[in-house]
C-alpha cells in the first residue's frame, strides 16, 4: 500500500511538472528569437511527411464506415442517406480522433525519440551552454508546427475518408455520386465543421506537448529513450480519447444539436 501511495505521489509530481512545462513553453512562444526556419522544417517533418499515412487511414476508415452502415441502412431502406452518415461520423469524430492517434504514433513518438536522444547525449545541455533556449529552439517550433498541421491533416483525412465512402457507395451500394454528394452537403452543419476543426487544435497541442515533455525529461541512456517513446504514444493516445470525450461533451453542452 505504501508503494501505491508513492506511485500516486509520483504521478502528481509528473502532472505538476507537465503543466509547469506547458507554462514555460507558452512563455517561450513570445519574445525573440522566433525560429522561423525551424518551424518550417517542422511543418515539413510533422505535416508533409504524415500525408500518406493519414490519407491511407482516412480512406480505409471511410470505406469501412460506408460498408458497415450501408448494410444496416439497407435493411431500413435508407441506404440513400449513406453520405450523410459517413460525413457526420467522419467530420465530428473519426477524422479528428484517428488522425490524432496516427500522428501520436508517428510524430509524437518521433519528437520524444529525437529530443530524448539529444537529452541523454548532452546535446540539450550543449545547446544551453551555447546560450540557446531549447524551449524556443526545439519545443516551441514543434508545438507550433503540430498546432498548425493537425487541423490540416484532419481536413485531409476527412476529405479522403469521404472519397473512400463514396467509392463504396457507388460501387457497392448503388448510390449515385450526385446523391452521395448532396446527402454529404445536407448532413454537415457549420457546428460540425467548427467542432471538427477545434478538436485537432487541442489534439495537436496535446500530442506535441506530451512528446516534447517526455523527450526533454528523458534520462537513463538509450533504454530511457525507448521507454520514453513508448510512454509518449501511450499517454498521447489515451488522452486524445479522454480529451475527445470532454470536448464532445462541451460542444453538446454549448447547445449543439445532435
Amino acid at each position: 500500500m505504501i508503494n501505491f501511495n508513492e506511485k500516486i505521489q509520483k504521478v502528481l509530481i509528473d502532472v505538476y511538472e507537465y503543466f509547469l512545462f506547458l507554462l514555460n513553453a507558452t512563455r517561450a512562444v513570445f519574445g525573440r528569437p522566433l525560429y522561423t526556419k525551424e518551424v518550417i522544417e517542422q511543418l515539413y517533418q510533422t505535416g508533409y511527411r504524415s500525408i500518406s499515412i493519414v490519407s491511407l487511414t482516412g480512406f480505409f476508415t471511410g470505406m469501412v464506415l460506408a460498408f458497415q452502415t450501408g448494410n444496416e441502412l439497407s435493411r431500413f431502406g435508407a441506404k440513400a442517406y449513406i453520405g450523410g452518415v459517413v460525413a457526420v461520423s467522419l467530420v465530428r469524430e473519426l477524422g479528428p480522433v484517428l488522425t490524432a492517434l496516427v500522428v501520436a504514433g508517428r510524430v509524437g513518438a518521433g519528437i520524444t525519440a529525437e529530443l530524448g536522444s539529444m537529452k541523454v547525449t548532452d546535446q540539450i545541455d550543449a545547446m544551453r551552454a551555447m546560450a540557446t533556449d531549447p524551449y524556443k529552439k526545439l519545443v516551441v517550433t514543434r508545438m507550433l508546427a503540430l498546432l498548425i498541421m493537425m487541423p490540416v491533416l484532419t481536413v485531409l483525412s476527412d476529405v479522403v475518408g469521404l472519397i473512400g465512402g463514396m467509392v463504396i457507395a457507388v460501387t457497392n451500394l448503388n448510390v449515385g455520386f450526385e446523391l452521395y454528394k448532396s446527402t454529404v452537403m445536407n448532413a454537415l452543419l457549420v457546428e460540425d465543421l467548427i467542432s471538427g476543426l477545434m478538436k485537432p487544435v487541442f489534439f495537436g497541442m496535446l500530442v506535441s506537448s506530451v512528446g516534447c515533455f517526455l523527450g526533454m525529461n528523458t534520462s537513463g541512456g538509450t533504454k530511457g529513450v525507448g521507454s520514453a517513446t513508448t510512454m509518449s504514444v501511450v499517454i498521447s493516445s489515451i488522452f486524445v480519447l479522454v480529451l475527445d470525450f470532454i470536448l464532445t461533451k462541451l460542444t453538446f453542452l454549448m447547445g449543439k444539436p445532435i
Binding site: S117, D122, Q123, D125, A126, M127, A129, M130, A131, D133
Partner: protein, 245 residues
C-alpha cells in the same frame, strides 16, 4: 576570472559539493582532479548554470552571477565554451553547421565570414576538410576536436573540458592534450580541465585542484602535487599501488 564561494550541491540526500571555494585564474589552465562521481562534471555545469545552485556564490569576471535569471545567464554563457565528455555534437547537423552554430545564433556575420571563421577553427584543431561530414562519420577523437572547434567558434574567454581524454587511446589522447595546451598558449583563454587522467593533467595543467568528498583535498602547482605527502594525493597518484623505494 571565476571565483566560487562556499558552493553546495546535493541530489536528494546525496551531498556532491560541500562548501567548495575555489578560484580559476585568468589565462591559466586549472586542472580539477578527482575520482569518478566526485562532482567534477557537476561543478562545470554549475558554473554554466545548466543546473541550479543549492547555496554559495559564483563570480564571473568579478560579477556575482548566482542570482542571474536564465536570460542573464545567456550572456555569461556566450563568454564560455564547453567541451562535453561525450562531445555532444548535434548529430542532425554537419560538422560545418556544428561549428557555425554559435555564429548563426548570436552574431550577424555574413555567410562568407562564417565560412572563414569555421575554417579557421577547423584548421586550429587540424580537421579542415571535414566540413561536410556528419558527426556519426567521425571517430571519438575527431568528434572531440570538432567539439573543441565548436566551443571556440565565438572566441570565448573561458573553455571548459570535461574529461577530454577519457575513453581515447593514449596516442589520440596525447593529440588532444596538445590541442588543449595550444588553446592556452595561442589564445590566452582561461581553461578548466576536469579529469582523472594524471598524464593529461601533468601535460596541460598549471594549477591542480584535487576534489574529495565534496571539498578540496589539495590545491597547488603540479610539482607541489607530485611531491605532496597528503595521503589522498599519494593514493590518487599511485592508484593504491605500492611503489618500491
Amino acid at each position: 576570472m571565476i571565483k566560487i564561494e562556499n558552493l553546495c550541491k546535493r541530489f536528494g540526500d546525496k551531498v556532491v559539493l560541500d562548501n567548495l571555494s575555489l578560484e580559476f585564474e585568468r589565462g591559466k589552465t586549472t586542472v580539477v582532479l578527482g575520482r569518478s562521481g566526485t562532482g567534477k562534471s557537476v561543478l562545470l555545469k554549475l558554473i554554466l548554470r545548466l543546473m541550479d545552485i543549492d547555496s554559495g556564490r559564483i563570480y564571473v569576471d568579478n560579477i556575482d552571477t548566482t542570482d542571474f535569471s536564465e536570460l542573464q545567464m545567456m550572456a555569461v554563457r556566450k563568454k564560455m565554451g564547453m567541451l562535453f565528455q561525450g562531445s555532444a555534437l548535434f548529430d542532425s547537423m554537419s560538422v560545418f553547421e556544428n561549428v557555425a552554430y554559435m555564429l548563426r545564433e548570436h552574431t550577424s556575420l555574413s555567410e562568407s565570414e562564417i565560412k572563414e571563421r569555421v575554417e579557421e577553427k577547423l584548421r586550429f584543431v587540424e580537421m579542415l576538410g571535414t566540413q561536410d561530414l556528419m558527426p556519426s562519420e567521425l571517430s571519438g577523437g575527431m568528434q572531440k576536436r570538432i567539439a573543441l572547434a565548436r566551443a571556440m567558434a565565438n572566441n570565448p574567454d573561458y573553455i571548459f573540458f570535461d574529461e577530454p581524454t577519457t575513453g581515447l587511446d593514449p596516442i589520440t589522447a596525447q593529440t588532444i592534450n596538445e590541442l588543449i595546451k595550444r588553446v592556452q598558449v595561442q589564445t590566452h583563454t582561461t581553461v578548466i580541465v576536469v579529469t582523472h587522467d594524471l598524464d593529461s593533467a601533468n601535460f596541460v595543467g598549471q594549477k591542480f585542484v584535487l576534489l574529495k568528498d565534496g571539498g578540496i583535498s589539495f590545491e597547488g602547482t603540479p610539482s607541489e602535487f607530485n611531491n605532496s605527502n597528503i595521503e589522498f594525493v599519494k593514493l590518487f597518484r599511485t592508484g593504491g599501488k605500492v611503489i618500491n623505494g
